[in-house]
Amino acid sequence: MELTVVLVIAVALGFDYVNGFHDAANSIATVVSTRVLSPRQAVLWAAFFNFAAFLVFGTKVASTIANDVVAQDVLSIGVIFAGLVGAISWDLITFVFGLPTSSSHALVGGIAGAAVAKAGFAVLIGEGLRKIGVFIILSPLIGLAIGFILTLVIFWVFHRYENIDRLNRGFRIGQLFSAAAFSLGHGANDAQKTMGVILALLIASGHVAAGAPIPLWVVLSAHIAIALGTLTGGWRIVKTMGSKITRLQPVGGVAAESGGAMTLFATSAAGIPVSTTHTITGAIVGVGAARRLSAVRWGVAGRVVWAWVLTIPGAFAISWLSFQVVDLFS
Protein backbone atom coordinates (compact mmCIF):
# COMPACT_ATOMS: atom_id res chain seq x y z
CA MET A 1 0.00 0.00 0.00
CA GLU A 2 1.38 3.45 -0.96
CA LEU A 3 2.52 5.84 1.75
CA THR A 4 -0.08 8.47 0.75
CA VAL A 5 -2.92 5.97 1.16
CA VAL A 6 -1.60 4.94 4.58
CA LEU A 7 -1.30 8.61 5.59
CA VAL A 8 -4.86 9.44 4.51
CA ILE A 9 -6.17 6.34 6.36
CA ALA A 10 -4.33 7.67 9.43
CA VAL A 11 -6.04 11.07 8.95
CA ALA A 12 -9.44 9.31 8.59
CA LEU A 13 -8.83 7.43 11.82
CA GLY A 14 -7.73 10.76 13.33
CA PHE A 15 -11.13 12.16 12.31
CA ASP A 16 -12.80 9.16 13.97
CA TYR A 17 -10.76 9.81 17.12
CA VAL A 18 -11.78 13.51 17.11
CA ASN A 19 -15.38 12.39 16.51
CA GLY A 20 -15.27 10.18 19.63
CA PHE A 21 -13.54 12.98 21.56
CA HIS A 22 -16.06 15.58 20.37
CA ASP A 23 -19.15 13.37 20.72
CA ALA A 24 -18.20 11.63 23.98
CA ALA A 25 -20.39 14.25 25.60
CA ASN A 26 -23.46 12.89 23.83
CA SER A 27 -23.09 9.45 25.37
CA ILE A 28 -22.12 10.43 28.86
CA ALA A 29 -23.30 14.00 29.55
CA THR A 30 -26.56 12.92 31.15
CA VAL A 31 -24.93 10.13 33.22
CA VAL A 32 -22.32 12.56 34.51
CA SER A 33 -24.74 15.45 35.11
CA THR A 34 -27.07 13.18 37.14
CA ARG A 35 -23.98 11.86 39.01
CA VAL A 36 -24.74 8.22 38.24
CA LEU A 37 -21.10 7.75 37.18
CA SER A 38 -17.96 9.78 37.75
CA PRO A 39 -16.54 11.32 34.57
CA ARG A 40 -13.76 8.71 34.47
CA GLN A 41 -16.15 5.76 34.89
CA ALA A 42 -18.54 7.25 32.34
CA VAL A 43 -15.94 7.54 29.57
CA LEU A 44 -14.77 3.95 30.17
CA TRP A 45 -18.37 2.74 30.01
CA ALA A 46 -19.12 4.67 26.81
CA ALA A 47 -15.84 3.72 25.10
CA PHE A 48 -16.47 0.02 25.73
CA PHE A 49 -19.91 0.17 24.09
CA ASN A 50 -18.61 2.35 21.23
CA PHE A 51 -16.21 -0.47 20.44
CA ALA A 52 -18.73 -3.29 21.01
CA ALA A 53 -21.07 -1.76 18.40
CA PHE A 54 -19.20 -3.52 15.58
CA LEU A 55 -20.61 -6.84 16.83
CA VAL A 56 -24.21 -5.62 16.60
CA PHE A 57 -24.69 -3.44 13.52
CA GLY A 58 -23.97 -3.90 9.83
CA THR A 59 -22.17 -1.46 7.54
CA LYS A 60 -25.03 0.20 5.63
CA VAL A 61 -24.16 3.70 6.85
CA ALA A 62 -20.58 3.23 5.63
CA SER A 63 -21.91 2.28 2.21
CA THR A 64 -24.09 5.43 2.10
CA ILE A 65 -21.07 7.65 2.85
CA ALA A 66 -18.87 5.84 0.30
CA ASN A 67 -21.42 5.72 -2.53
CA ASP A 68 -24.24 8.24 -2.05
CA VAL A 69 -22.59 11.63 -1.37
CA VAL A 70 -20.48 12.30 -4.47
CA ALA A 71 -19.86 10.39 -7.72
CA GLN A 72 -17.39 7.53 -7.18
CA ASP A 73 -15.14 8.51 -10.09
CA VAL A 74 -14.33 11.92 -8.58
CA LEU A 75 -13.14 10.44 -5.29
CA SER A 76 -9.36 10.57 -5.30
CA ILE A 77 -6.82 10.47 -2.48
CA GLY A 78 -6.55 14.30 -2.67
CA VAL A 79 -10.34 14.81 -2.48
CA ILE A 80 -10.71 12.50 0.51
CA PHE A 81 -7.73 14.10 2.27
CA ALA A 82 -9.06 17.64 1.71
CA GLY A 83 -12.55 16.53 2.84
CA LEU A 84 -11.13 15.11 6.05
CA VAL A 85 -9.09 18.28 6.69
CA GLY A 86 -12.30 20.35 6.37
CA ALA A 87 -14.28 18.06 8.67
CA ILE A 88 -11.56 17.85 11.34
CA SER A 89 -10.95 21.62 11.22
CA TRP A 90 -14.68 22.33 11.63
CA ASP A 91 -14.92 19.88 14.55
CA LEU A 92 -11.99 21.56 16.29
CA ILE A 93 -13.33 25.10 15.69
CA THR A 94 -16.73 24.17 17.19
CA PHE A 95 -15.00 22.30 20.01
CA VAL A 96 -13.12 25.48 20.97
CA PHE A 97 -16.46 27.33 21.17
CA GLY A 98 -18.10 24.44 23.09
CA LEU A 99 -20.76 23.90 20.44
CA PRO A 100 -22.21 20.39 20.07
CA THR A 101 -22.30 20.29 16.27
CA SER A 102 -22.35 17.23 14.09
CA SER A 103 -19.10 15.50 13.08
CA SER A 104 -21.13 13.50 10.58
CA HIS A 105 -22.41 16.49 8.70
CA ALA A 106 -18.95 18.07 8.88
CA LEU A 107 -17.71 14.95 7.07
CA VAL A 108 -20.48 15.09 4.45
CA GLY A 109 -19.88 18.85 3.93
CA GLY A 110 -16.12 18.25 3.79
CA ILE A 111 -16.23 15.48 1.18
CA ALA A 112 -18.77 17.45 -0.88
CA GLY A 113 -16.65 20.64 -0.72
CA ALA A 114 -13.47 18.90 -1.86
CA ALA A 115 -15.28 17.01 -4.65
CA VAL A 116 -16.91 20.23 -5.92
CA ALA A 117 -13.51 21.95 -5.86
CA LYS A 118 -12.18 19.19 -8.11
CA ALA A 119 -15.02 18.73 -10.58
CA GLY A 120 -17.88 21.18 -9.96
CA PHE A 121 -21.37 20.82 -8.49
CA ALA A 122 -22.43 18.13 -11.01
CA VAL A 123 -20.57 15.46 -8.98
CA LEU A 124 -22.92 15.79 -6.01
CA ILE A 125 -25.49 12.97 -5.76
CA GLY A 126 -28.80 14.74 -5.16
CA GLU A 127 -30.74 11.75 -3.86
CA GLY A 128 -28.15 10.75 -1.27
CA LEU A 129 -27.59 14.31 -0.09
CA ARG A 130 -31.35 14.90 0.12
CA LYS A 131 -31.73 11.80 2.32
CA ILE A 132 -28.95 13.02 4.62
CA GLY A 133 -30.39 16.57 4.61
CA VAL A 134 -33.91 15.42 5.48
CA PHE A 135 -32.61 13.42 8.42
CA ILE A 136 -30.60 16.40 9.68
CA ILE A 137 -34.02 17.82 10.55
CA LEU A 138 -35.89 14.58 11.25
CA SER A 139 -33.42 12.91 13.63
CA PRO A 140 -33.65 15.56 16.40
CA LEU A 141 -37.44 15.70 15.92
CA ILE A 142 -37.68 11.91 16.29
CA GLY A 143 -35.41 12.01 19.37
CA LEU A 144 -37.52 14.86 20.82
CA ALA A 145 -40.81 13.02 20.31
CA ILE A 146 -39.50 9.75 21.80
CA GLY A 147 -37.85 11.58 24.75
CA PHE A 148 -41.11 13.44 25.43
CA ILE A 149 -43.33 10.33 25.15
CA LEU A 150 -41.02 8.17 27.29
CA THR A 151 -40.97 10.85 30.01
CA LEU A 152 -44.78 10.99 30.02
CA VAL A 153 -45.04 7.17 30.14
CA ILE A 154 -42.54 6.98 33.02
CA PHE A 155 -44.37 9.72 34.97
CA TRP A 156 -47.71 8.03 34.32
CA VAL A 157 -46.50 4.58 35.41
CA PHE A 158 -44.75 5.79 38.57
CA HIS A 159 -46.92 8.76 39.64
CA ARG A 160 -48.36 6.90 42.63
CA TYR A 161 -44.99 5.60 43.78
CA GLU A 162 -44.22 7.14 47.18
CA ASN A 163 -40.62 6.10 47.88
CA ILE A 164 -38.93 8.72 45.71
CA ASP A 165 -35.40 7.87 46.89
CA ARG A 166 -35.83 4.22 45.93
CA LEU A 167 -37.34 5.24 42.59
CA ASN A 168 -34.39 7.52 41.86
CA ARG A 169 -31.97 4.72 42.76
CA GLY A 170 -33.78 2.46 40.28
CA PHE A 171 -33.50 5.03 37.52
CA ARG A 172 -29.83 5.62 38.28
CA ILE A 173 -29.23 1.93 37.55
CA GLY A 174 -31.50 2.20 34.49
CA GLN A 175 -29.36 5.06 33.23
CA LEU A 176 -26.36 2.75 33.04
CA PHE A 177 -28.25 0.66 30.48
CA SER A 178 -29.67 3.60 28.55
CA ALA A 179 -26.21 5.23 28.35
CA ALA A 180 -24.78 1.91 27.16
CA ALA A 181 -27.50 1.67 24.48
CA PHE A 182 -26.81 5.21 23.31
CA SER A 183 -23.04 4.56 23.20
CA LEU A 184 -23.74 1.45 21.14
CA GLY A 185 -25.79 3.54 18.69
CA HIS A 186 -23.09 6.23 18.63
CA GLY A 187 -20.37 3.67 17.87
CA ALA A 188 -22.52 2.07 15.17
CA ASN A 189 -23.53 5.22 13.30
CA ASP A 190 -20.38 7.34 13.72
CA ALA A 191 -17.64 4.72 13.34
CA GLN A 192 -19.33 3.61 10.12
CA LYS A 193 -18.85 7.07 8.61
CA THR A 194 -15.08 6.69 8.92
CA MET A 195 -15.33 3.18 7.51
CA GLY A 196 -17.17 4.69 4.54
CA VAL A 197 -14.37 7.20 3.96
CA ILE A 198 -11.66 4.53 4.20
CA LEU A 199 -13.67 2.26 1.88
CA ALA A 200 -13.98 5.08 -0.66
CA LEU A 201 -10.22 5.67 -0.39
CA LEU A 202 -9.42 1.97 -0.88
CA ILE A 203 -11.70 1.84 -3.92
CA ALA A 204 -10.20 5.07 -5.34
CA SER A 205 -6.65 3.72 -4.91
CA GLY A 206 -7.56 0.35 -6.41
CA HIS A 207 -7.03 -1.73 -3.27
CA VAL A 208 -10.65 -2.83 -3.04
CA ALA A 209 -13.10 -3.44 -5.89
CA ALA A 210 -16.23 -1.26 -6.03
CA GLY A 211 -19.11 -3.06 -4.31
CA ALA A 212 -16.80 -5.31 -2.26
CA PRO A 213 -17.52 -5.76 1.48
CA ILE A 214 -15.61 -3.63 3.98
CA PRO A 215 -12.41 -5.39 5.16
CA LEU A 216 -12.53 -6.44 8.82
CA TRP A 217 -9.39 -4.45 9.70
CA VAL A 218 -11.20 -1.26 8.57
CA VAL A 219 -14.22 -2.07 10.78
CA LEU A 220 -12.06 -2.85 13.81
CA SER A 221 -9.72 0.13 13.44
CA ALA A 222 -12.65 2.56 13.07
CA HIS A 223 -14.27 1.25 16.26
CA ILE A 224 -10.96 1.31 18.16
CA ALA A 225 -10.31 4.94 17.06
CA ILE A 226 -13.76 6.19 18.14
CA ALA A 227 -13.49 4.34 21.45
CA LEU A 228 -10.06 5.91 22.12
CA GLY A 229 -11.51 9.35 21.29
CA THR A 230 -14.35 8.80 23.72
CA LEU A 231 -11.84 7.73 26.39
CA THR A 232 -10.15 11.11 26.17
CA GLY A 233 -13.58 12.89 26.11
CA GLY A 234 -14.51 16.54 25.69
CA TRP A 235 -15.71 18.12 28.92
CA ARG A 236 -16.52 21.54 27.47
CA ILE A 237 -19.39 19.99 25.49
CA VAL A 238 -20.47 17.71 28.34
CA LYS A 239 -21.32 20.87 30.27
CA THR A 240 -23.48 22.29 27.44
CA MET A 241 -25.30 19.02 26.84
CA GLY A 242 -25.70 17.91 30.45
CA SER A 243 -26.87 21.03 32.19
CA LYS A 244 -27.21 24.08 29.97
CA ILE A 245 -30.10 22.84 27.77
CA THR A 246 -32.24 21.62 30.66
CA ARG A 247 -31.57 20.25 34.14
CA LEU A 248 -31.87 16.46 34.16
CA GLN A 249 -32.78 13.97 36.89
CA PRO A 250 -31.95 10.24 36.49
CA VAL A 251 -35.48 9.62 35.17
CA GLY A 252 -34.96 12.26 32.48
CA GLY A 253 -31.55 10.81 31.67
CA VAL A 254 -33.08 7.38 31.06
CA ALA A 255 -35.79 8.86 28.80
CA ALA A 256 -33.33 11.04 26.83
CA GLU A 257 -30.75 8.32 26.25
CA SER A 258 -33.35 5.70 25.41
CA GLY A 259 -35.00 8.07 22.93
CA GLY A 260 -31.63 8.85 21.36
CA ALA A 261 -30.61 5.17 21.27
CA MET A 262 -33.87 4.08 19.60
CA THR A 263 -33.43 6.72 16.89
CA LEU A 264 -29.80 5.70 16.27
CA PHE A 265 -30.61 1.97 16.14
CA ALA A 266 -33.34 2.54 13.56
CA THR A 267 -31.32 4.91 11.37
CA SER A 268 -28.17 2.74 11.53
CA ALA A 269 -30.21 -0.29 10.47
CA ALA A 270 -31.65 1.74 7.57
CA GLY A 271 -28.17 2.97 6.52
CA ILE A 272 -28.89 6.64 7.21
CA PRO A 273 -25.98 8.68 8.59
CA VAL A 274 -27.45 10.91 11.28
CA SER A 275 -25.89 13.07 13.92
CA THR A 276 -25.68 11.56 17.39
CA THR A 277 -25.42 15.15 18.63
CA HIS A 278 -28.67 16.23 16.95
CA THR A 279 -30.45 13.14 18.20
CA ILE A 280 -29.52 13.41 21.87
CA THR A 281 -30.06 17.19 21.88
CA GLY A 282 -33.60 16.64 20.54
CA ALA A 283 -34.25 13.95 23.14
CA ILE A 284 -33.00 16.18 26.00
CA VAL A 285 -35.27 19.02 24.77
CA GLY A 286 -38.16 16.49 24.66
CA VAL A 287 -37.56 15.53 28.29
CA GLY A 288 -37.44 19.21 29.32
CA ALA A 289 -40.59 19.99 27.33
CA ALA A 290 -42.47 17.18 29.12
CA ARG A 291 -42.14 19.21 32.32
CA ARG A 292 -42.91 22.55 30.70
CA LEU A 293 -41.64 24.38 27.66
CA SER A 294 -39.91 27.00 29.80
CA ALA A 295 -37.75 24.23 31.39
CA VAL A 296 -35.79 24.23 28.13
CA ARG A 297 -33.18 26.97 27.78
CA TRP A 298 -34.11 27.94 24.26
CA GLY A 299 -31.23 30.42 23.97
CA VAL A 300 -28.69 27.61 24.28
CA ALA A 301 -30.79 25.27 22.10
CA GLY A 302 -30.99 28.06 19.46
CA ARG A 303 -27.20 28.55 19.52
CA VAL A 304 -26.83 24.83 18.91
CA VAL A 305 -29.28 25.01 15.98
CA TRP A 306 -27.21 27.79 14.38
CA ALA A 307 -24.12 25.63 14.70
CA TRP A 308 -26.01 22.83 12.91
CA VAL A 309 -27.04 25.14 10.07
CA LEU A 310 -23.46 26.33 9.60
CA THR A 311 -21.78 22.90 9.81
CA ILE A 312 -22.16 21.69 6.21
CA PRO A 313 -21.38 25.09 4.59
CA GLY A 314 -18.47 25.65 7.03
CA ALA A 315 -16.84 22.27 6.45
CA PHE A 316 -17.62 22.60 2.71
CA ALA A 317 -15.75 25.93 2.51
CA ILE A 318 -12.69 24.71 4.46
CA SER A 319 -12.46 21.57 2.33
CA TRP A 320 -12.85 23.56 -0.87
CA LEU A 321 -9.87 25.70 0.17
CA SER A 322 -7.92 22.63 1.34
CA PHE A 323 -8.38 20.99 -2.05
CA GLN A 324 -7.01 24.08 -3.80
CA VAL A 325 -3.87 23.77 -1.64
CA VAL A 326 -3.64 19.98 -2.20
CA ASP A 327 -4.06 20.57 -5.94
CA LEU A 328 -1.12 23.01 -5.94
CA PHE A 329 1.21 20.32 -4.61
CA SER A 330 -0.08 17.33 -6.57
Binding site: E127, R130, K131, V134, L138, A145, L293
Partner: protein
Protein backbone atom coordinates in the same frame (compact mmCIF):
# COMPACT_ATOMS: atom_id res chain seq x y z
CA UNK B 1 -53.26 28.78 22.96
CA UNK B 2 -50.83 26.50 24.77
CA UNK B 3 -47.26 27.34 23.69
CA UNK B 4 -46.20 23.69 23.76
CA UNK B 5 -49.07 22.74 21.45
CA UNK B 6 -47.98 25.47 19.03
CA UNK B 7 -44.40 24.16 19.16
CA UNK B 8 -45.59 20.62 18.38
CA UNK B 9 -47.80 21.87 15.56
CA UNK B 10 -44.80 23.70 14.09
CA UNK B 11 -42.77 20.47 14.30
CA UNK B 12 -45.61 18.58 12.57
CA UNK B 13 -45.69 21.12 9.73
CA UNK B 14 -41.92 20.78 9.27
CA UNK B 15 -42.31 16.99 9.03
CA UNK B 16 -45.13 17.23 6.47
CA UNK B 17 -43.06 19.66 4.36
CA UNK B 18 -40.25 17.07 4.34
CA UNK B 19 -42.49 14.23 3.06
CA UNK B 20 -42.10 14.97 -0.69
CA UNK B 21 -38.34 15.52 -0.27
CA UNK B 22 -37.75 12.24 1.56
CA UNK B 23 -37.74 9.87 -1.45
CA UNK B 24 -38.05 6.36 0.00
CA UNK B 25 -38.38 7.63 3.55
CA UNK B 26 -41.50 9.78 3.15
CA UNK B 27 -43.40 7.45 5.45
CA UNK B 28 -40.96 8.26 8.28
CA UNK B 29 -41.57 12.00 7.92
CA UNK B 30 -45.33 11.38 7.64
CA UNK B 31 -45.40 9.17 10.77
CA UNK B 32 -43.36 11.64 12.83
CA UNK B 33 -45.66 14.46 11.63
CA UNK B 34 -48.76 12.55 12.71
CA UNK B 35 -47.15 11.85 16.12
CA UNK B 36 -46.54 15.59 16.54
CA UNK B 37 -50.17 16.39 15.64
CA UNK B 38 -51.29 13.92 18.35
CA UNK B 39 -48.83 15.45 20.85
CA UNK B 40 -50.09 18.96 20.00
CA UNK B 41 -53.68 17.89 20.52
CA UNK B 42 -52.83 16.15 23.81
CA UNK B 43 -50.84 19.14 25.03
CA UNK B 44 -53.65 21.55 24.14
CA UNK B 45 -56.26 19.38 25.94
CA UNK B 46 -53.95 19.09 28.96
CA UNK B 47 -53.49 22.88 29.15
CA UNK B 48 -57.25 23.40 28.71
CA UNK B 49 -58.11 21.01 31.56
CA UNK B 50 -55.53 22.72 33.82
CA UNK B 51 -57.12 26.11 33.14
CA UNK B 52 -60.56 24.76 34.08
CA UNK B 53 -59.37 23.35 37.41
Amino acid sequence: MDRRAIFFLGAAIVCFVLVPLSDGYGWVAMTVGVVYVVLALGSWLDARSHRRL
